[in-house]
Protein backbone atom coordinates (compact mmCIF):
# COMPACT_ATOMS: atom_id res chain seq x y z
CA UNK A 1 0.00 0.00 0.00
CA UNK A 2 1.68 3.18 -1.11
CA UNK A 3 1.06 6.68 0.11
CA UNK A 4 -1.33 7.43 -2.72
CA UNK A 5 -3.64 4.59 -1.78
CA UNK A 6 -3.35 5.36 1.91
CA UNK A 7 -4.50 8.90 1.29
CA UNK A 8 -7.27 7.80 -1.00
CA UNK A 9 -8.60 5.31 1.52
CA UNK A 10 -8.26 7.92 4.25
CA UNK A 11 -10.37 10.28 2.20
CA UNK A 12 -13.03 7.59 1.79
CA UNK A 13 -12.91 6.79 5.47
CA UNK A 14 -13.30 10.40 6.55
CA UNK A 15 -16.16 10.97 4.12
CA UNK A 16 -18.10 7.97 5.39
CA UNK A 17 -17.05 8.79 8.94
CA UNK A 18 -18.65 12.22 8.61
CA UNK A 19 -21.96 10.60 7.66
CA UNK A 20 -21.69 8.09 10.52
CA UNK A 21 -20.95 11.01 12.83
CA UNK A 22 -24.16 12.76 11.82
CA UNK A 23 -26.17 9.59 12.32
CA UNK A 24 -24.54 8.81 15.65
CA UNK A 25 -25.41 12.29 16.92
CA UNK A 26 -29.03 11.72 15.93
CA UNK A 27 -29.04 8.36 17.70
CA UNK A 28 -27.58 9.83 20.89
CA UNK A 29 -30.13 12.64 20.75
CA UNK A 30 -33.11 10.34 20.32
CA UNK A 31 -31.90 7.92 22.97
CA UNK A 32 -31.14 10.49 25.65
CA UNK A 33 -34.42 12.33 25.15
CA UNK A 34 -36.82 9.42 24.59
CA UNK A 35 -34.84 6.28 25.60
CA UNK A 36 -35.60 4.88 22.13
CA UNK A 37 -32.77 3.12 20.30
CA UNK A 38 -33.69 4.46 16.92
CA UNK A 39 -33.11 1.53 14.57
CA UNK A 40 -35.22 3.09 11.76
CA UNK A 41 -32.64 5.89 11.46
CA UNK A 42 -31.22 4.10 8.41
CA UNK A 43 -34.59 4.05 6.65
CA UNK A 44 -34.64 7.82 6.73
CA UNK A 45 -31.25 7.75 4.99
CA UNK A 46 -32.64 5.50 2.26
CA UNK A 47 -35.95 7.39 1.99
CA UNK A 48 -34.13 10.72 1.63
CA UNK A 49 -31.84 9.44 -1.14
CA UNK A 50 -34.49 7.46 -3.00
CA UNK A 51 -37.10 10.19 -2.81
CA UNK A 52 -34.62 12.57 -4.43
CA UNK A 53 -33.78 9.93 -7.05
CA UNK A 54 -37.49 9.49 -7.83
CA UNK A 55 -37.94 13.20 -8.39
CA UNK A 56 -34.97 13.23 -10.73
CA UNK A 57 -36.36 10.27 -12.65
CA UNK A 58 -39.69 12.08 -13.00
CA UNK A 59 -41.49 9.56 -10.82
CA UNK A 60 -43.77 10.22 -7.86
CA UNK A 61 -42.00 8.79 -4.80
CA UNK A 62 -44.03 6.31 -2.76
CA UNK A 63 -43.02 8.14 0.40
CA UNK A 64 -45.67 10.69 -0.56
CA UNK A 65 -48.39 8.08 0.08
CA UNK A 66 -46.74 7.18 3.35
CA UNK A 67 -46.81 10.84 4.40
CA UNK A 68 -50.47 11.13 3.44
CA UNK A 69 -51.42 7.87 5.14
CA UNK A 70 -49.51 8.59 8.33
CA UNK A 71 -50.99 12.09 8.38
CA UNK A 72 -54.54 10.73 8.18
CA UNK A 73 -53.86 8.23 10.98
CA UNK A 74 -52.30 10.86 13.25
CA UNK A 75 -55.16 13.26 12.51
CA UNK A 76 -57.79 10.63 13.39
CA UNK A 77 -56.11 9.71 16.67
CA UNK A 78 -55.39 13.28 17.74
CA UNK A 79 -58.85 14.50 16.76
CA UNK A 80 -60.46 11.77 18.82
CA UNK A 81 -58.34 12.74 21.84
CA UNK A 82 -58.94 16.46 21.35
CA UNK A 83 -62.71 15.99 21.07
CA UNK A 84 -62.82 13.73 24.12
CA UNK A 85 -60.96 16.39 26.12
CA UNK A 86 -63.17 19.15 24.71
CA UNK A 87 -60.09 20.97 23.42
CA UNK A 88 -61.59 22.47 20.25
CA UNK A 89 -58.81 25.01 19.89
CA UNK A 90 -56.43 22.18 18.95
CA UNK A 91 -58.50 20.96 15.98
CA UNK A 92 -57.29 23.53 13.45
CA UNK A 93 -53.64 22.77 14.19
CA UNK A 94 -54.16 19.02 13.92
CA UNK A 95 -55.90 19.36 10.55
CA UNK A 96 -53.35 21.82 9.24
CA UNK A 97 -50.25 19.76 10.01
CA UNK A 98 -51.52 16.26 9.37
CA UNK A 99 -53.88 16.77 6.42
CA UNK A 100 -53.15 20.23 5.07
CA UNK A 101 -49.38 19.85 4.90
CA UNK A 102 -49.33 16.50 3.05
CA UNK A 103 -52.03 17.83 0.70
CA UNK A 104 -49.90 20.90 -0.06
CA UNK A 105 -46.85 18.73 -0.81
CA UNK A 106 -48.96 16.50 -3.07
CA UNK A 107 -50.23 19.48 -5.03
CA UNK A 108 -46.69 20.84 -5.31
CA UNK A 109 -45.40 17.56 -6.70
CA UNK A 110 -48.20 17.03 -9.20
CA UNK A 111 -48.39 20.59 -10.46
CA UNK A 112 -44.76 21.60 -9.97
CA UNK A 113 -43.12 18.84 -12.04
CA UNK A 114 -40.02 18.66 -9.85
CA UNK A 115 -37.92 16.71 -12.39
CA UNK A 116 -37.13 19.99 -14.09
CA UNK A 117 -36.19 21.82 -10.90
CA UNK A 118 -32.64 22.76 -9.92
CA UNK A 119 -30.98 20.25 -7.62
CA UNK A 120 -31.20 22.45 -4.51
CA UNK A 121 -34.97 22.76 -4.89
CA UNK A 122 -35.33 19.01 -5.42
CA UNK A 123 -33.31 18.41 -2.26
CA UNK A 124 -35.52 20.77 -0.27
CA UNK A 125 -38.67 19.10 -1.57
CA UNK A 126 -37.30 15.66 -0.66
CA UNK A 127 -36.57 16.86 2.85
CA UNK A 128 -39.99 18.51 3.12
CA UNK A 129 -41.54 15.17 2.23
CA UNK A 130 -39.45 12.78 4.31
CA UNK A 131 -38.63 14.76 7.48
CA UNK A 132 -42.24 15.10 8.80
CA UNK A 133 -42.40 11.30 8.82
CA UNK A 134 -40.10 11.45 11.87
CA UNK A 135 -42.55 13.08 14.28
CA UNK A 136 -45.41 11.07 12.77
CA UNK A 137 -43.56 7.82 13.46
CA UNK A 138 -43.01 9.05 17.02
CA UNK A 139 -46.69 9.90 17.39
CA UNK A 140 -47.95 6.58 16.07
CA UNK A 141 -45.40 4.09 17.36
CA UNK A 142 -43.56 5.52 20.36
CA UNK A 143 -45.73 8.12 22.09
CA UNK A 144 -48.34 5.55 23.20
CA UNK A 145 -45.52 3.60 24.91
CA UNK A 146 -43.48 6.58 26.12
CA UNK A 147 -43.35 5.26 29.69
CA UNK A 148 -42.46 1.69 28.70
CA UNK A 149 -39.08 0.11 29.41
CA UNK A 150 -36.08 0.55 27.11
CA UNK A 151 -36.53 -3.06 25.99
CA UNK A 152 -40.16 -2.56 24.93
CA UNK A 153 -39.17 0.61 23.11
CA UNK A 154 -36.38 -1.32 21.36
CA UNK A 155 -38.82 -3.98 20.22
CA UNK A 156 -41.13 -1.30 18.82
CA UNK A 157 -38.11 0.23 17.15
CA UNK A 158 -37.23 -3.04 15.42
CA UNK A 159 -40.85 -3.44 14.31
CA UNK A 160 -40.93 0.07 12.86
CA UNK A 161 -37.63 -0.61 11.11
CA UNK A 162 -38.97 -3.79 9.49
CA UNK A 163 -42.17 -2.04 8.44
CA UNK A 164 -40.28 0.88 6.90
CA UNK A 165 -37.87 -1.42 5.03
CA UNK A 166 -40.83 -3.35 3.63
CA UNK A 167 -42.53 -0.14 2.57
CA UNK A 168 -39.24 1.01 1.03
CA UNK A 169 -39.19 -2.10 -1.19
CA UNK A 170 -42.80 -1.45 -2.16
CA UNK A 171 -42.19 2.23 -2.94
CA UNK A 172 -38.84 2.10 -4.68
CA UNK A 173 -38.43 -1.48 -5.89
CA UNK A 174 -35.33 -3.62 -5.51
CA UNK A 175 -33.07 -1.64 -7.86
CA UNK A 176 -30.64 0.82 -6.42
CA UNK A 177 -30.32 4.48 -7.38
CA UNK A 178 -27.53 6.92 -7.61
CA UNK A 179 -28.06 10.65 -7.93
CA UNK A 180 -25.79 13.06 -9.80
CA UNK A 181 -23.03 14.80 -7.89
CA UNK A 182 -23.80 18.17 -6.27
CA UNK A 183 -20.90 19.67 -8.20
CA UNK A 184 -18.34 18.44 -10.71
CA UNK A 185 -15.55 20.54 -9.27
CA UNK A 186 -12.61 18.68 -7.77
CA UNK A 187 -9.76 19.76 -5.57
CA UNK A 188 -6.18 18.80 -6.42
CA UNK A 189 -4.20 18.29 -3.21
CA UNK A 190 -0.68 17.34 -4.23
CA UNK A 191 -0.95 13.97 -5.87
CA UNK A 192 -4.53 13.17 -4.86
CA UNK A 193 -7.80 14.48 -6.17
CA UNK A 194 -10.58 15.23 -3.71
CA UNK A 195 -13.94 14.99 -5.44
CA UNK A 196 -16.48 17.77 -5.20
CA UNK A 197 -19.00 15.49 -3.51
CA UNK A 198 -16.48 14.57 -0.81
CA UNK A 199 -16.06 18.26 -0.08
CA UNK A 200 -19.83 18.66 0.01
CA UNK A 201 -20.19 15.79 2.46
CA UNK A 202 -17.44 17.08 4.76
CA UNK A 203 -18.54 20.70 4.53
CA UNK A 204 -22.22 19.99 5.13
CA UNK A 205 -21.51 17.59 7.97
CA UNK A 206 -19.30 20.09 9.73
CA UNK A 207 -21.87 22.82 9.18
CA UNK A 208 -24.69 20.65 10.45
CA UNK A 209 -22.71 19.62 13.52
CA UNK A 210 -21.89 23.27 14.23
CA UNK A 211 -25.57 24.16 13.79
CA UNK A 212 -26.63 21.41 16.19
CA UNK A 213 -24.05 22.61 18.68
CA UNK A 214 -25.50 26.11 18.52
CA UNK A 215 -29.02 24.73 18.78
CA UNK A 216 -28.28 22.79 21.97
CA UNK A 217 -26.08 25.45 23.50
CA UNK A 218 -27.93 28.63 22.63
CA UNK A 219 -31.62 28.16 21.91
CA UNK A 220 -34.25 27.54 24.56
CA UNK A 221 -35.70 24.60 22.60
CA UNK A 222 -32.27 22.99 22.39
CA UNK A 223 -31.81 23.49 26.10
CA UNK A 224 -35.28 22.06 26.71
CA UNK A 225 -34.26 18.88 24.87
CA UNK A 226 -31.09 18.62 26.94
CA UNK A 227 -33.11 19.21 30.09
CA UNK A 228 -35.47 16.37 29.19
CA UNK A 229 -32.47 14.12 28.63
CA UNK A 230 -30.99 15.09 32.01
CA UNK A 231 -34.12 15.02 34.16
CA UNK A 232 -37.45 14.12 32.66
CA UNK A 233 -39.52 14.97 35.74
CA UNK A 234 -37.72 18.27 36.19
CA UNK A 235 -38.38 19.13 32.56
CA UNK A 236 -42.07 18.29 32.82
CA UNK A 237 -42.31 20.52 35.87
CA UNK A 238 -41.05 23.35 33.65
CA UNK A 239 -43.86 22.60 31.21
CA UNK A 240 -41.53 20.93 28.70
CA UNK A 241 -43.80 18.14 27.60
CA UNK A 242 -42.32 14.73 26.98
CA UNK A 243 -44.38 14.50 23.80
CA UNK A 244 -43.02 17.78 22.44
CA UNK A 245 -39.46 16.78 23.27
CA UNK A 246 -40.00 13.38 21.63
CA UNK A 247 -41.45 14.84 18.44
CA UNK A 248 -38.72 17.45 18.22
CA UNK A 249 -35.92 14.90 18.64
CA UNK A 250 -37.51 12.62 16.03
CA UNK A 251 -37.85 15.58 13.69
CA UNK A 252 -34.15 16.36 14.04
CA UNK A 253 -33.17 12.71 13.66
CA UNK A 254 -35.29 12.33 10.53
CA UNK A 255 -33.80 15.52 9.08
CA UNK A 256 -30.26 14.36 9.81
CA UNK A 257 -31.00 10.91 8.37
CA UNK A 258 -32.67 12.12 5.19
CA UNK A 259 -30.01 14.75 4.56
CA UNK A 260 -27.22 12.21 5.11
CA UNK A 261 -28.84 9.97 2.53
CA UNK A 262 -29.02 12.81 0.05
CA UNK A 263 -25.35 13.62 0.69
CA UNK A 264 -24.07 10.12 0.02
CA UNK A 265 -26.44 9.19 -2.82
CA UNK A 266 -23.96 10.50 -5.44
CA UNK A 267 -21.13 8.41 -3.90
CA UNK A 268 -22.83 5.11 -3.09
CA UNK A 269 -25.68 3.34 -4.81
CA UNK A 270 -28.59 3.36 -2.37
CA UNK A 271 -31.04 0.48 -2.24
CA UNK A 272 -34.26 0.35 -0.21
CA UNK A 273 -32.39 -1.53 2.55
CA UNK A 274 -28.97 0.15 2.37
CA UNK A 275 -29.88 2.51 5.18
CA UNK A 276 -29.86 -0.21 7.79
CA UNK A 277 -26.16 -0.99 7.44
CA UNK A 278 -25.23 2.70 7.36
CA UNK A 279 -27.39 3.39 10.40
CA UNK A 280 -25.84 0.44 12.20
CA UNK A 281 -22.37 1.93 11.74
CA UNK A 282 -23.65 5.19 13.19
CA UNK A 283 -24.95 3.06 16.02
CA UNK A 284 -21.52 1.50 16.64
CA UNK A 285 -20.18 5.05 16.91
CA UNK A 286 -22.98 6.05 19.28
CA UNK A 287 -22.16 3.03 21.45
CA UNK A 288 -18.53 4.15 21.59
CA UNK A 289 -19.93 7.38 23.01
CA UNK A 290 -21.94 5.36 25.53
CA UNK A 291 -25.16 6.59 23.87
CA UNK A 292 -24.59 9.73 25.90
CA UNK A 293 -21.58 11.72 24.71
CA UNK A 294 -21.86 13.63 21.44
CA UNK A 295 -18.12 14.38 20.95
CA UNK A 296 -17.02 10.81 21.72
CA UNK A 297 -19.70 9.47 19.36
CA UNK A 298 -18.45 11.77 16.58
CA UNK A 299 -14.85 10.69 17.14
CA UNK A 300 -16.01 7.08 17.19
CA UNK A 301 -17.76 7.62 13.86
CA UNK A 302 -14.53 8.81 12.28
CA UNK A 303 -12.79 5.73 13.65
CA UNK A 304 -15.51 3.49 12.19
CA UNK A 305 -15.22 5.21 8.81
CA UNK A 306 -11.43 4.86 8.67
CA UNK A 307 -11.47 1.28 9.92
CA UNK A 308 -14.01 0.42 7.28
CA UNK A 309 -12.01 2.06 4.48
CA UNK A 310 -8.70 0.41 5.37
CA UNK A 311 -10.20 -2.98 6.04
CA UNK A 312 -11.91 -2.86 2.66
CA UNK A 313 -8.39 -2.71 1.21
CA UNK A 314 -6.75 -5.36 3.36
CA UNK A 315 -9.61 -7.76 3.83
CA UNK A 316 -12.54 -6.54 1.83
CA UNK A 317 -14.56 -9.70 2.43
CA UNK A 318 -14.40 -9.07 6.18
CA UNK A 319 -14.99 -5.33 6.06
CA UNK A 320 -18.34 -5.39 7.87
CA UNK A 321 -17.23 -8.07 10.29
CA UNK A 322 -14.24 -5.98 11.33
CA UNK A 323 -16.34 -2.85 11.83
CA UNK A 324 -18.97 -4.60 13.91
CA UNK A 325 -16.41 -6.55 15.90
CA UNK A 326 -15.07 -3.19 17.02
CA UNK A 327 -18.07 -2.99 19.30
CA UNK A 328 -16.79 -5.85 21.47
CA UNK A 329 -13.55 -4.28 22.75
CA UNK A 330 -15.43 -0.99 23.12
CA UNK A 331 -18.12 -2.58 25.27
CA UNK A 332 -15.46 -4.37 27.33
CA UNK A 333 -13.53 -1.15 27.83
CA UNK A 334 -16.70 0.72 28.76
CA UNK A 335 -17.86 -1.87 31.24
CA UNK A 336 -14.43 -1.88 32.88
CA UNK A 337 -14.02 1.88 33.06
CA UNK A 338 -17.50 3.15 33.91
CA UNK A 339 -18.50 2.80 37.50
CA UNK A 340 -22.18 2.62 38.05
CA UNK A 341 -23.08 6.00 39.42
CA UNK A 342 -25.88 6.01 41.95
CA UNK A 343 -28.98 7.77 40.68
CA UNK A 344 -28.75 11.34 41.83
CA UNK A 345 -30.86 11.78 44.98
Amino acid sequence: MDLQITLLLGQDGITNGAIYALLSLALVLVFTVTRVIFIPQGEFVAYGALTLASFQAGKTPGTLWLLAGAGILVALIDLKIALAAGARQRIARILLWNLGYPAAITVLIFLGKPEGWPLAAQVLLSLALVVPLGPMVYRLAFQPAAEASVLVLLIISVAVHLALVGLGLLFFGAEGSRTPSFSDAALQLGSITVSGQTLWVLGSSLLLIAALYQFFGRTIYGKALRATAINRTGARLMGISTVMAGKLSFLLAAAIGAFSGILIAPITTIYYDTGFLIGLKGFVAAIIGGLASYPVAAAGALLVGLLEAYSSFWASAFKEVIVFTLIIPVLLWRSLTTHHVEEEE
Binding site: I220, K223, I230, N231, T233, L237, M238, G239, I240
Partner: protein, 248 residues
Amino acid sequence: MTSTPLLEVKDLCVAYGKVEALHHANLKVAPGQIVTVIGPNGAGKTTMLCAIMGLLPKSSGEVSFLGRSEDGAAVEHMVGLGMNLVPEKRELFGEMSVEDNLLLGAFVNYRRGARDHGETMGRVFDIFPRLKERRAQQAGTLSGGERQMLAVGRALMAKPKLLLLDEPSLGLAPLVVKEIFRIISELKRTGVGILLVEQNARAALQIADYGYVLETGEMALEGPTKILAGDPRVIESYLGLGTCGVRV
Protein backbone atom coordinates in the same frame (compact mmCIF):
# COMPACT_ATOMS: atom_id res chain seq x y z
CA MET B 1 -61.85 32.74 52.47
CA THR B 2 -64.38 34.88 50.70
CA SER B 3 -62.86 35.24 47.24
CA THR B 4 -62.99 32.33 44.80
CA PRO B 5 -60.18 29.98 45.66
CA LEU B 6 -57.21 29.61 43.34
CA LEU B 7 -56.99 25.96 44.19
CA GLU B 8 -59.70 23.74 45.54
CA VAL B 9 -59.10 20.12 46.36
CA LYS B 10 -62.15 17.98 47.10
CA ASP B 11 -62.11 14.44 48.48
CA LEU B 12 -58.77 13.69 46.91
CA CYS B 13 -57.63 10.07 47.27
CA VAL B 14 -54.33 8.75 45.98
CA ALA B 15 -53.05 5.18 46.11
CA TYR B 16 -49.77 3.46 45.30
CA GLY B 17 -51.02 0.18 43.92
CA LYS B 18 -53.55 -0.99 46.49
CA VAL B 19 -52.12 1.04 49.36
CA GLU B 20 -53.94 4.31 49.87
CA ALA B 21 -51.54 7.11 50.79
CA LEU B 22 -54.10 9.92 50.87
CA HIS B 23 -57.73 9.62 52.02
CA HIS B 24 -60.35 12.19 51.11
CA ALA B 25 -58.23 15.28 51.48
CA ASN B 26 -59.95 18.68 51.21
CA LEU B 27 -58.08 21.94 50.89
CA LYS B 28 -58.35 25.48 49.52
CA VAL B 29 -55.86 28.18 48.63
CA ALA B 30 -56.89 31.75 47.75
CA PRO B 31 -54.77 34.24 45.77
CA GLY B 32 -52.23 35.99 47.97
CA GLN B 33 -52.70 33.45 50.71
CA ILE B 34 -50.16 31.13 52.28
CA VAL B 35 -51.62 27.79 53.24
CA THR B 36 -49.45 25.27 55.00
CA VAL B 37 -49.76 21.53 55.40
CA ILE B 38 -47.74 20.09 58.25
CA GLY B 39 -47.36 16.50 59.30
CA PRO B 40 -44.85 13.80 60.18
CA ASN B 41 -42.76 11.70 57.79
CA GLY B 42 -44.80 9.52 55.50
CA ALA B 43 -48.05 11.37 56.19
CA GLY B 44 -48.71 11.80 52.47
CA LYS B 45 -47.74 15.45 52.00
CA THR B 46 -45.54 14.90 48.96
CA THR B 47 -48.10 12.48 47.57
CA MET B 48 -50.79 15.15 47.83
CA LEU B 49 -48.69 17.81 46.07
CA CYS B 50 -47.76 15.40 43.28
CA ALA B 51 -51.40 14.45 42.73
CA ILE B 52 -52.48 18.11 42.62
CA MET B 53 -49.75 18.82 40.11
CA GLY B 54 -50.72 15.89 37.90
CA LEU B 55 -47.50 13.97 38.48
CA LEU B 56 -49.44 11.16 40.14
CA PRO B 57 -52.85 9.84 39.07
CA LYS B 58 -55.64 10.34 41.60
CA SER B 59 -57.87 7.42 42.48
CA SER B 60 -60.84 9.71 43.18
CA GLY B 61 -61.70 13.28 44.04
CA GLU B 62 -61.39 16.58 42.25
CA VAL B 63 -58.74 19.24 41.79
CA SER B 64 -59.99 22.64 40.60
CA PHE B 65 -57.57 25.34 39.60
CA LEU B 66 -58.73 28.89 38.73
CA GLY B 67 -62.31 27.71 39.14
CA ARG B 68 -62.01 24.92 36.55
CA SER B 69 -61.96 21.26 37.37
CA GLU B 70 -58.79 19.72 35.96
CA ASP B 71 -59.59 16.07 35.62
CA GLY B 72 -56.62 13.91 34.85
CA ALA B 73 -54.66 16.83 33.38
CA ALA B 74 -50.95 16.27 32.82
CA VAL B 75 -48.21 18.19 34.60
CA GLU B 76 -47.35 20.21 31.50
CA HIS B 77 -50.94 21.40 31.32
CA MET B 78 -51.01 22.53 34.95
CA VAL B 79 -47.70 24.36 34.49
CA GLY B 80 -49.24 26.09 31.48
CA LEU B 81 -52.11 27.29 33.67
CA GLY B 82 -49.75 28.85 36.19
CA MET B 83 -49.23 26.18 38.83
CA ASN B 84 -45.61 25.40 39.72
CA LEU B 85 -44.13 22.86 42.08
CA VAL B 86 -40.80 23.01 43.82
CA PRO B 87 -40.45 19.28 44.36
CA GLU B 88 -38.98 17.61 47.41
CA LYS B 89 -36.14 16.21 45.27
CA ARG B 90 -35.65 19.58 43.53
CA GLU B 91 -35.17 17.88 40.13
CA LEU B 92 -32.59 20.38 38.89
CA PHE B 93 -30.75 19.97 35.60
CA GLY B 94 -27.44 19.03 37.17
CA GLU B 95 -25.24 19.24 34.09
CA MET B 96 -26.57 22.64 33.07
CA SER B 97 -25.59 26.05 34.36
CA VAL B 98 -27.57 27.91 37.01
CA GLU B 99 -28.56 30.42 34.36
CA ASP B 100 -29.86 27.75 31.97
CA ASN B 101 -31.84 26.13 34.78
CA LEU B 102 -33.50 29.47 35.46
CA LEU B 103 -34.09 30.13 31.77
CA LEU B 104 -35.92 26.82 31.40
CA GLY B 105 -38.20 27.89 34.23
CA ALA B 106 -39.56 30.44 31.77
CA PHE B 107 -40.06 27.85 29.02
CA VAL B 108 -43.86 27.91 29.00
CA ASN B 109 -44.03 31.70 28.78
CA TYR B 110 -41.34 31.73 26.10
CA ARG B 111 -43.26 29.23 24.06
CA ARG B 112 -46.27 31.51 24.20
CA GLY B 113 -44.24 34.37 22.80
CA ALA B 114 -43.19 36.23 25.97
CA ARG B 115 -39.61 37.51 25.81
CA ASP B 116 -39.31 39.07 29.26
CA HIS B 117 -37.29 36.23 30.82
CA GLY B 118 -34.28 38.54 31.13
CA GLU B 119 -36.17 40.88 33.46
CA THR B 120 -37.68 38.03 35.41
CA MET B 121 -34.22 36.53 35.88
CA GLY B 122 -33.00 39.91 37.12
CA ARG B 123 -35.74 39.85 39.75
CA VAL B 124 -34.85 36.31 40.79
CA PHE B 125 -31.20 37.39 41.10
CA ASP B 126 -32.36 40.29 43.32
CA ILE B 127 -34.10 37.79 45.59
CA PHE B 128 -31.20 35.31 45.53
CA PRO B 129 -27.97 37.26 44.99
CA ARG B 130 -26.08 34.03 45.58
CA LEU B 131 -27.50 32.58 42.38
CA LYS B 132 -26.23 35.57 40.46
CA GLU B 133 -22.70 34.93 41.74
CA ARG B 134 -23.03 31.31 40.70
CA ARG B 135 -24.83 31.85 37.41
CA ALA B 136 -22.22 30.06 35.26
CA GLN B 137 -21.72 27.16 37.68
CA GLN B 138 -23.22 23.75 36.98
CA ALA B 139 -26.34 23.17 39.08
CA GLY B 140 -25.08 19.76 40.16
CA THR B 141 -22.11 21.33 41.94
CA LEU B 142 -24.13 23.76 44.07
CA SER B 143 -24.37 23.43 47.85
CA GLY B 144 -27.59 22.11 49.35
CA GLY B 145 -28.87 25.56 50.22
CA GLU B 146 -27.97 26.98 46.84
CA ARG B 147 -29.80 24.13 45.14
CA GLN B 148 -32.90 24.95 47.16
CA MET B 149 -32.63 28.58 46.12
CA LEU B 150 -32.22 27.54 42.51
CA ALA B 151 -35.27 25.28 42.69
CA VAL B 152 -37.39 28.12 44.10
CA GLY B 153 -35.90 30.64 41.67
CA ARG B 154 -36.55 28.36 38.73
CA ALA B 155 -40.21 28.02 39.74
CA LEU B 156 -40.49 31.81 40.06
CA MET B 157 -39.22 32.21 36.50
CA ALA B 158 -42.56 30.81 35.34
CA LYS B 159 -44.37 33.70 37.11
CA PRO B 160 -46.69 31.27 38.87
CA LYS B 161 -50.18 32.06 40.12
CA LEU B 162 -49.90 29.22 42.59
CA LEU B 163 -46.64 27.95 44.00
CA LEU B 164 -46.47 24.52 45.61
CA LEU B 165 -43.46 24.19 47.89
CA ASP B 166 -42.41 20.80 49.21
CA GLU B 167 -40.27 21.31 52.31
CA PRO B 168 -38.23 24.28 51.11
CA SER B 169 -36.38 24.38 54.44
CA LEU B 170 -35.25 20.76 54.27
CA GLY B 171 -31.68 20.38 55.46
CA LEU B 172 -30.91 24.09 55.56
CA ALA B 173 -29.02 26.06 58.19
CA PRO B 174 -31.35 28.10 60.47
CA LEU B 175 -30.26 31.41 58.95
CA VAL B 176 -30.99 30.21 55.43
CA VAL B 177 -34.35 28.83 56.56
CA LYS B 178 -35.20 32.24 57.93
CA GLU B 179 -34.22 33.81 54.64
CA ILE B 180 -36.29 31.38 52.58
CA PHE B 181 -39.34 31.96 54.76
CA ARG B 182 -38.89 35.72 54.52
CA ILE B 183 -38.87 35.37 50.73
CA ILE B 184 -42.00 33.23 50.80
CA SER B 185 -43.90 35.82 52.84
CA GLU B 186 -42.74 38.51 50.41
CA LEU B 187 -44.03 36.49 47.46
CA LYS B 188 -47.42 36.41 49.08
CA ARG B 189 -47.59 40.18 48.78
CA THR B 190 -47.27 39.93 45.01
CA GLY B 191 -50.58 38.03 44.93
CA VAL B 192 -49.16 34.56 44.41
CA GLY B 193 -51.00 31.79 46.22
CA ILE B 194 -48.69 29.48 48.14
CA LEU B 195 -49.23 25.96 49.34
CA LEU B 196 -46.39 25.20 51.69
CA VAL B 197 -45.66 21.69 52.88
CA GLU B 198 -43.35 21.69 55.88
CA GLN B 199 -42.06 19.67 58.76
CA ASN B 200 -40.69 22.82 60.27
CA ALA B 201 -44.11 23.47 61.77
CA ARG B 202 -43.12 26.43 63.89
CA ALA B 203 -41.78 28.48 60.99
CA ALA B 204 -44.58 27.40 58.66
CA LEU B 205 -47.33 28.33 61.11
CA GLN B 206 -45.69 31.70 61.64
CA ILE B 207 -45.87 32.83 58.03
CA ALA B 208 -49.00 30.98 56.85
CA ASP B 209 -52.57 32.26 57.05
CA TYR B 210 -54.26 28.91 57.23
CA GLY B 211 -53.00 25.47 58.09
CA TYR B 212 -53.81 21.81 57.84
CA VAL B 213 -52.36 18.91 59.77
CA LEU B 214 -51.97 15.74 57.71
CA GLU B 215 -51.47 12.49 59.59
CA THR B 216 -51.23 9.05 57.95
CA GLY B 217 -53.01 10.19 54.84
CA GLU B 218 -55.83 12.06 56.56
CA MET B 219 -56.45 15.70 57.39
CA ALA B 220 -56.51 15.53 61.17
CA LEU B 221 -56.93 19.24 61.92
CA GLU B 222 -57.33 22.53 60.12
CA GLY B 223 -57.80 26.17 60.94
CA PRO B 224 -56.35 29.67 60.82
CA THR B 225 -52.72 29.38 61.88
CA LYS B 226 -53.19 31.59 64.96
CA ILE B 227 -55.73 29.15 66.34
CA LEU B 228 -53.86 26.09 65.10
CA ALA B 229 -50.64 27.20 66.80
CA GLY B 230 -52.52 27.28 70.09
CA ASP B 231 -54.12 23.88 69.70
CA PRO B 232 -52.80 21.53 72.38
CA ARG B 233 -52.47 18.63 69.92
CA VAL B 234 -50.38 20.71 67.57
CA ILE B 235 -48.26 22.05 70.40
CA GLU B 236 -47.62 18.58 71.72
CA SER B 237 -46.83 16.86 68.43
CA TYR B 238 -45.31 19.61 66.33
CA LEU B 239 -44.22 22.52 68.47
CA GLY B 240 -43.22 20.61 71.58
CA LEU B 241 -40.05 21.42 73.45
CA GLY B 242 -36.90 19.90 72.07
CA THR B 243 -38.37 18.90 68.75
CA CYS B 244 -39.36 22.34 67.55
CA GLY B 245 -38.31 22.84 63.97
CA VAL B 246 -35.85 20.02 64.12
CA ARG B 247 -36.17 17.37 61.47
CA VAL B 248 -35.69 13.91 62.87
